[in-house]
Subunit: 211 residues, 4 copies
DNA sequence: AATGAATGAGTGTTCATTCAT
DNA sequence: GATGAATGAACACTCATTCAT
């Protein structure tokens, strides 16, 4: 199992004078990673601060030192997940890139546990104001960006324009959420070929209807 | 608050031979209802057998008397959710009915807490073999039925046939899951008009491309 | 060490049909006793539910089963203390009884730990609304009764009437509080003879000034 | 909120030889002040070194740097309280001054949190040898001084001599303790007028019985 | 002199579960 | 059939304290 995916702390540790401060950020990420792994292995219900600490090789107190709350640790994980998501979102420009983006996203999911873990966390959003806010903000931003992008492609004729860009954006989001939901339960159903065909179908449905 | 939706216990009491066991069934359903409500109100993490018992007006012991386990209570709730889902699935026959089906499904979600509750439960499927089995079976059946139905409509020319029926079925399922995910977090985004337009878009994407 | 003083549970267990219910009250008192002892031995800061449970020979969970809260356990102890106090208050009628009352009270303090324990609890009243309420109510009642009683004795000429009955009542209360404060810290200073002389002095100061 | 009353650090910095240690002393007093405030606000149970440090604007480590122990910080606070008490004790000489002394003392209590805080600390004396020693020493000294003073006034005929000076001294101490106990719980009952009447009653009881 | 990271024991509390009644 | 007393492990969290820097 690798499982650490893109959660590399290394970038933050630059040369500093005096006591190392970069450590703090590095430790946080270590704990974040441990949290992701524990959630992925044991599920949300089985994820306790104790177990996160143990997985990271720290004491219980260390976790609460870096994160005031369980809630805040979890919120941090979700935020991290969305940062990955954003990177994907901003890569590429035209419609063909949708395929590349989704493939990248499926890669992340296969490679790291961050998405399944964060996604489980998201189901708590209804009862956790902080998570709900993160969720809403991220989705709002996603919708804004994607809608604008689709609009551009509708104008250039690469995406059908008989459905509003905004509806298409929302549809894609829902589709991605649904896949993220299914993925950890039936991972075998998401082979690369299958993913390819799913994306094919989606792109075909978004293509301008041929005269 | 109504919130009980279609969870009426009476339907389950069919004619039986021997000692009437109807009461037993009725109690079970009462507890199921209480479980759904507690999960909907407090989230999965906040749902304890104690609270379910209290909500149903029973003692703690009663819950463990009717359900050997917390797991089994939860599995029973998910099963109940899918029974509702099935009813929706079997109603209607042709493509236009998709709209009716989804509308019906959105109604259930607005009316009762069963879907949001069961859906949260589903996120545990990865770590709960029993839930995973229920999930897989239900989805397999869904795919079988829906695929066959779409194939029929593809033949009759009411659904595009350049995408395999099976892929379309899976896509619809993912879409529904994604919506079910978003619904409890941003309920305001799912007004009847909005739902109408979302369904419109979906149907248009499934329609055969005009010659 | 005796330490159980007047906290006898026996009265509550009468003959009953079916499952014994009197047990409940008896267990509560057992735990109350254990709480008193732990506070007396370890101080308020050292009194944890765990230690109370252990002292009573129960598990941790049992304590929280009988008392929803640490606060409620503590409030119950204070209430118990004041019940003892009330018994003292209602015994006897005329001024000479003050001596008997105080002697009885000093006896309780020497015999059981309930007063020192409860008294320590009282210092929390400022930050614990429930305790504060108990304190205020008890003192208000004490003042009412004692004031009325002193008034009667002022009329019959056995207590000086150049100081209002109400002020004398308050003074006695403060004096008792002060003694209760000192007692656990310097117990050696409160020998029976010394107590006698302290009471003598008090009574002399309350006596009518000779013509 | 003022609340710092007489806890000004400046007074303590007297002329010293060698390296100036004034800073150190000043810091100590700052932390003492913070401790008093935290105890007054949160109660003894809620007072942690962390909170004291935060209130004073220092780091956690600083507190343990200036005070080896929590116990020692607390002991220092009690000592400080008694220094204030002593100042009161030594002011004035004859019986009329009792009123002035008590008024001064009630002023301190209304003005600063030192007495309520220190008093709460005192309840720990039973289980904290250091505190107990401070308490005993202070009271012993108080008794010595006050007894001698009352004796003098008994000789001069301004205080009744049918009760021993020592008993009167102890009585006054107990009374003051009782008031200090009640004050934080029912502050509204101690208006200046009421205090006046309480002191009146006390003085009248100490006055020589009129021929 | 002072910091703040880290510890690890301990807290109150909740909980699923058991079982005599 | 159903209760509810009791368990004991687990939880999130707080804390006094230590110590390298």
């Amino acid at each position: 199992m690798k499982g650490d995916g893109h959660l590399s702390p290394t970038d933050n540790v630059t040369i500093r004078r005096g006591r190392p401060v970069g450590d703090r950020e590095a430790r946080r990420i270590e704990l974040l990673n441990a949290g992701v792994q524990v959630i992925a292995e044991l599920g949300l219900g089985g994820a306790s601060l104790r177990k996160v600490a143990k997985k990271a090789g720290y004491t219980t107190g260390a976790v609460t030192y870096y994160f005031a709350n369980k809630e805040q640790l979890f919120a941090a994980i979700v935020e991290y997940m969305f940062q990955r998501f954003d990177e994907m979102l901003y890569a590429g420009e035209d419609i063909g890139d949708y395929r590349r983006r989704f493939e990248h996203w499926f890669d992340i999911n296969a490679d790291s546990f961050i998405w399944p873990a964060g996604f489980q966390l998201l189901t708590r959003a209804r009862h956790d104001a902080e998570l709900a806010a993160i969720y809403r903000d991220t989705y709002a931003q996603y919708r804004r960006i994607t809608t604008r992008r689709i609009e551009a492609q509708q104008k250039s004729g690469t995406i059908r324009d008989d459905i509003s860009a905004e509806l298409l954006a929302e549809q894609i989001a829902a589709l991605a959420d649904g896949w993220a939901m299914m993925l950890p339960i039936e991972p075998d159903r998401f082979t690369p070929e299958r993913v390819d065909r799913l994306l094919d179908a989606l792109l075909r449905q978004m293509a301008p209807s041929r005269s």
